[in-house]
Amino acid sequence: MSHPYRYQLGTRTWSFRNLGDVLAKATPARSGDRLAGVAASSAEERVVAQMCLADIPLKRFLNEALVPYESDEVTRLILDGHDAQAFAPVSHLTVGGFRNWLLSDHATPAVLKALRPGLTPEMVAAVSKLMRNQDLILVARKCEVVTGFRNTIGLPGRLSTRLQPNHPTDDVAGIAASILDGLLYGNGDAVIGINPATDNVSQTIKLLRMMDEVIRKYEIPTQSCVLTHVTNTLEAIEQGAPVDLVFQSIGGTEATNRSFGFDLATLSEAREAALSLNRRTVGNNVMYFETGQGSALSANAHHGIDQQTCEARAYAVARTFAPLLVNTVVGFIGPEYLFDGKEIIRAGLEDHFCGKLLGLPMGCDICYTNHAEADQNDMDNLLTLLGVAGCTFIMGIPGSDDIMLNYQTTSFHDALYARRVLGLRPAPEFEQWLTRMRIFDDAERFEPNTALPDAFGLALRGIPGRTGHD
């Protein structure tokens, strides 16, 4: 049993150490897998690994754990939670056969929805490695995932946005300025979510109060979130803070999550606490998770598994807690994991596909850092592709420039571009609010009002400075 996975190509026999080795070598090229030393050593070996993978039965993933069951609670979550009945329609298929089936007209939105509990992240990651970008788009588009808190996220033909009003010192006036800018560009229906510069409980509470006051005063059908550690949010809830969504960065192995300072029990506790506040009006989804390829390797907790498969395993963690939003922060981690625009675009499409197929409200932080080989054009490409794929939400930030986290993500303008070229509307409750507040002049064309809407004119009165351009 030294090399149980073999593939004969002409006169040469290729062998792979184990299932994880086949998956890693079948993965489209990326720097993180090279850094981890798990990538294919040649272009030919990569395709041979894909051919080998295509012949592996889906059932094998139920019998051969990539990360040991005994030592990893994420593996236990995946295998113990597997629904054999839901799996039945595809249980006879190989990974290659599964690709064909997903692309076929047998896989309707309803059939794909029923299949979710029968799929493991490893099956989904495996099939994604055989798929071209257009396959990832086409199948993801068939997956409908609808969630709700104070509005309804993920309906077909809709695209939501997280308003991300970060400020390097958490200055409330600075944050409020970015919030107003975003709202007036029609942004913020997924969540108004701040990454705090100072990460502690009292700061979290201050920012939560600030956003709660804005949401209540202007009766905005949206939710807020401070992206602090789950234990900080729990403490904020105990202190009576107005918490809508609980945030946490999650990974696909127990050791990754421990390095983030939590386990599955922590997430359960936080979810119960948030539900107990009864702040929701539309749906029961109270969690906001962020993920990203490379986090397990970065935490030295990847067990020799490729970064895309580790990422898909994080979605098993996410779906256990019925999140409102899951965001893959695709280009944030840096070029040692995803080197250039091509790798970032591929990873964004993979993550969106895997998340959607597993039933998650998958959004994407379409982003890059200044040391990656990427630019605004790459982000335009990924935004357009994800818009076509039916991505649930994207980020919105003033002029693409996050002045706190020092990276570039999609802007308020970018969201309007995607709306206009693809006809994607905001969440229905939020869309009605935009019209009622006269923020959108022409909701059909996503045209912001050229004049300042009355409700906000009052807020700006008394602030020195001309109202026009400087």
Binding site: R34, L35, P165, H167, P168, D171, V172, A173, G174, I175, A176, A177, S178, L180, D181, L184, T198, S202, Q203, I205, K206, L207, R209, M210, E213, V214, K217, Q239, P335, E336, N370, H371, I397, P398, G399, S400, D401, I403, N406, Y407, S411, H413, L416, Y417, R419, F446, E447, P448, T450, A451, A459, L460, I463, P464, G465, R466, T467, G468, H469, D470
Partner: protein, 276 residues
């Protein structure tokens, strides 16, 4: 042409820029970025890219350090390289950026004390992710720090000053260990932001040796004229160095209390949007 509407719509809330450096109130052409704002962004991104990719001019830096009085002659600053042969490799292989190249290792070993106690502090200048940050800020920062160190103690035994190309923070552990320094201070170009392509970071590590973790270090960040200026950065570093030598440790156990702000949860959350 009957259309009277302007082609570019300005945003009447642009005056809110007094509250933030965020790119708010940009206006729009249709629903897109106006040309002027597009080009401003492109320029900022271009500067950040150049900061990452333009190689450090080591000769110029050595000359600047000599001119600033940090060393007697430019060649007194040892020029070293990491095991990453070029920028593309450096960006993808952080492990190689943490180790000295074999030839640099040999060159440095000449300067390691054979017997007796090593130096107190090794100052290591590393290009990191922004050569621009190092090129413009390293010499004045080191000059200021050495002046301040001399003024307060006078007894600091400093290792030879080193400059490393294609290096990461942890290369200071390798260098510090080889020089048998009690502590190492790495000055390194930080990942450039769109509005801060020239930001220098300083990392202090007590008892440097290969395998030190981030949690073992103390960091002073955003050192640049428009951020934390040299005098203030030097005061912070002096505090950390003093405390590190007194307590014989660095990292999370050694908190920088010079910047501690007491945050009161009753702090006003009200702002112009929610004021009655």
């Amino acid at each position: 042409m009957t259309e009277k509407r302007p082609i570019v719509h300005q945003n009447p809330w642009r005056k809110l820029r007094q509250f933030t450096d965020a790119r708010i109130g940009l206006g729009r052409a249709g629903i897109s970025l106006p040309t002027q704002e597009l080009l401003k962004f492109q320029l900022a991104h271009a500067q950040a890219i150049d900061a990452v990719h333009c190689p450090l001019d080591v000769g110029q830096l050595q000359a600047d350090l000599a001119a600033a009085g940090v060393v007697a002659r430019p060649e007194d600053v040892l020029s070293l390289a990491s095991a990453a042969p070029d920028r593309a490799t450096y960006l993808q292989r952080p492990d190689l950026g943490r180790a000295l190249s074999p030839s640099s290792g040999e060159r440095l070993s000449v300067h390691a004390p054979a017997v007796g106690e090593g130096p107190d502090l090794a100052i290591v200048i590393v290009d990191g992710l922004s050569s621009r940050a190092v090129q413009s800020n390293a010499a004045p920062m080191v000059a200021r720090l050495i002046t301040d160190l001399d003024a307060e103690h006078g007894e600091w035994r400093l290792a030879p000053l080193t400059v490393v190309e294609q290096g990461r923070v942890a290369i200071g552990d390798d260098i510090g260990a080889r020089l048998r320094a009690r502590a190492v201070l790495v000055l390194i170009g930080e990942r450039p932001g769109l509005s801060s392509p020239d930001s220098l970071g300083a990392y202090l590590t007590w008892k440097p040796c290969i395998g030190r973790k981030d949690a073992d270090r103390n960091c002073v960040s955003n050192i640049r004229p428009a951020g934390l200026d040299y005098a203030n950065a030097s005061q912070r570093l002096l505090y950390l160095i003093r405390e590190s030598f007194r307590r014989k440790l660095s990292g999370v156990a050694l908190k920088d209390r010079t910047e501690e702000v007491v945050i009161d949860s009753t702090i006003e959350s009200k702002n112009f949007l929610t004021r009655d």
